[in-house]
């Protein structure tokens, strides 16, 4: 009798399958991966001013779009596609096999990471070539960028899986999830400059991860002199780390405890 494959190795198998399936859905590939670039082209072409010495709006916007890309490819994509898989009965079928839930989650995390990497490369590439976005030269900034991306992806994936229990049906999922993401994008300083927002909006946004991810990405892509223009007069990266960790724990807890394989 052979042994059942380990949860980790099945997780990687799931990841490969998820990527294969995703790459064959042309519409969602284009929407998910190209949409942030399209937004960059629109906003970058309309707002050509500098918002501070040596800081163009495009520079500010790229930081925000990378942060919200983490929310789009993780939270938004999963909270919409998992209820669809549940409606199809695909999840129930998986539940009937020896594949454990953790492998399914690992597979989703791999899909999110790969689409995130592609999206970041496209945003930075387009930004650098067409809108003069400067890349950081300080190694510490890239270290910050790496942990922000890893922690942000993990957090976004876990919250997306957790939130997938909220939409009642696959068809309605987008209507529930998308407005939340769009409102958070406006409130968190992705489309608009955060310090110009009303205080109540800033305070509301500060409860959720996107505001912190956006601020963290600004600490990577904007000069340190800009930190004094933040609400707290500093980048607050330690606080960002703590808040993302809290949301990660919340996401993992609900994913593990409350995940629904079946419609009823």
């Amino acid at each position: 009798m052979n042994k059942i494959p380990s949860a980790i190795s099945l997780g990687f198998r799931r990841g490969g399958l998820e990527i294969k399936q995703f790459s064959r859905q042309r519409e969602s590939v284009i929407f998910t991966l190209l949409f942030p670039v399209i937004l960059l082209v629109i906003f970058g072409s309309v707002f050509t001013d500098t918002i501070a010495p040596n800081v163009t709006f495009s520079q500010y916007f790229v930081a925000g779009m990378i942060a919200s890309g983490l929310v789009n490819t993780g939270f938004q994509a999963l909270a919409i596609t998992i209820p669809l898989e549940r409606d199809f009965g695909a999840l129930k079928r998986l539940r009937g096999t020896p594949m454990p839930a953790s492998s399914y989650f690992i597979g989703k995390a791999i899909l999110v990471s790969i689409s995130m990497i592609i999206q970041i490369l496209m945003l930075l590439g387009f930004g650098a070539i067409f809108f003069g976005v400067d890349m950081p030269t300080d190694i510490n900034k890239w270290i910050t960028f790496t942990w922000l991306t890893l922690l942000g992806s993990a957090c976004s994936t876990a919250l997306g899986i957790a939130f997938s229990i909220v939409p009642k049906s696959g068809r309605g999922a987008s209507a529930v999830v998308s407005p939340i993401v769009i409102i958070l994008q406006f409130f968190s300083g992705v489309f608009l400059i955060f310090t110009q927002l009303p205080t109540w909006m800033q305070q509301f946004a500060a409860l959720f991860p996107l505001k912190w991810l956006t601020q963290g990405m600004r600490s990577v892509f904007l000069p340190d002199s800009f930190a004094s223009q933040e609400v707290a007069k500093s980048w607050e990266n330690g606080k960002t780390f703590a808040i993302l960790m809290v949301w990660l724990v919340i996401g993992v807890f609900f994913s593990v405890r409350k995940f629904k394989w079946d419609r009823d």
Binding site: I4, L10, G89, G96, T97, P98
Partner: protein, 283 residues
């Protein structure tokens, strides 16, 4: 040891008592068919045995394991069973062979992928995307995914719904082959001829209770029921219910001195018995 052992199983959904004290024993290697109208509790019972639903009361053992169990023991258990659900579909962006190959990786001793594809008759569709399969072909893929892990016990929930007659026949042949391998099979079906062709024993379920368990031939006293002999006598069709149809026919042969016009000898079909049983319990 029996593959499935159920005692005093109960399950309610609010005020609806879906399963009301069901006892059931299914021997290892047996093919058992659960028959019953929609809403009788078939699917609830099967989903409790499959570990998809919790029960309110009773003892359940499936391959010596309580399906409500969790963790690694549940994984080991699922490695030994195969499940073909009533309705599943996929986004359809994978091919037949990709899907079956992927699922084969979940199990410790999977069957050979090509052999499974052949045995469900999908060899010509192996490279097709699932979205391009017909309903019957998708159903055969479901069956393929149910048997890929070489299960000791296979659950089939209305497996041939949507099959054309030819596909049903070849599906029956596949089940016979699985029987030959020693697989225990629990089947639910709407088709009585299917139960009759495949099952060693059938259980009739109505309103959450098992009404009778028996072989298809003996169900409802079918084997001892009176036969109906009918023939044409001049302008009218005559018929006679009898315990001794052979002697009736030989008398008729003498009477007509040869060929008896429009002779038929019938016993109640499984369907007649079944409808009577369901009807009786509805009173």
């Amino acid at each position: 040891m029996n593959a499935i052992e159920v005692k005093g199983l109960q399950k309610s959904y609010g005020a609806l008592h879906a399963v009301q004290g069901v006892d059931l024993s299914i021997a290892t290697g047996e093919i058992f068919a659960l028959l019953g109208p929609n809403g009788a509790g078939k699917t609830t019972i099967v989903e409790i045995l499959e570990g998809f639903r919790t029960r309110d009361a009773g003892d359940v053992s499936v391959l010596g394991f309580d399906p409500q169990g969790d963790g690694n023991a549940a994984r080991q258990w699922r490695n030994r069973i195969g499940i073909v659900l009533q309705s599943t579909s996929d986004s359809g962006d994978l091919t037949v062979i990709e899907t079956i190959e992927h699922f084969s990786g979940y199990y410790s001793n999977p069957r050979n992928v090509e052999e499974v594809i052949d045995s469900v008759g999908l060899e010509e569709k192996a490279g097709s995307l699932i979205r391009n399969l017909s309903g019957g072909q998708r159903r055969r893929l479901d069956v393929a995914l149910g048997i890929i892990g070489s299960p000791e016990l296979l659950f089939l929930d209305e497996p041939t719904t949507g099959f054309d007659p030819e596909a049903r026949r070849s599906f029956w042949a596949l089940i016979e082959k699985l029987r030959g391998d020693g697989t225990t099979i629990l089947l639910t079906t709407h088709y009585l001829d299917e139960a009759e062709a495949l099952a060693d024993r059938v259980g009739i379920i109505s309103e959450g209770k098992i009404v009778e368990v028996s072989t298809p031939a003996e169900l409802g006293g079918r084997s001892t029921a009176q036969a109906l002999v009918s023939w044409r006598d001049g302008a009218e069709i005559k018929s006679l219910a009898t315990d001794n149809p052979t002697s009736v026919v030989s008398k008729l042969t003498a009477q007509f001195n040869g060929e008896i016009p429009e002779l038929t000898v019938t016993r109640p079909s499984l369907e007649d018995i079944y409808l009577k049983m369901i009807g009786v319990t509805h009173e």
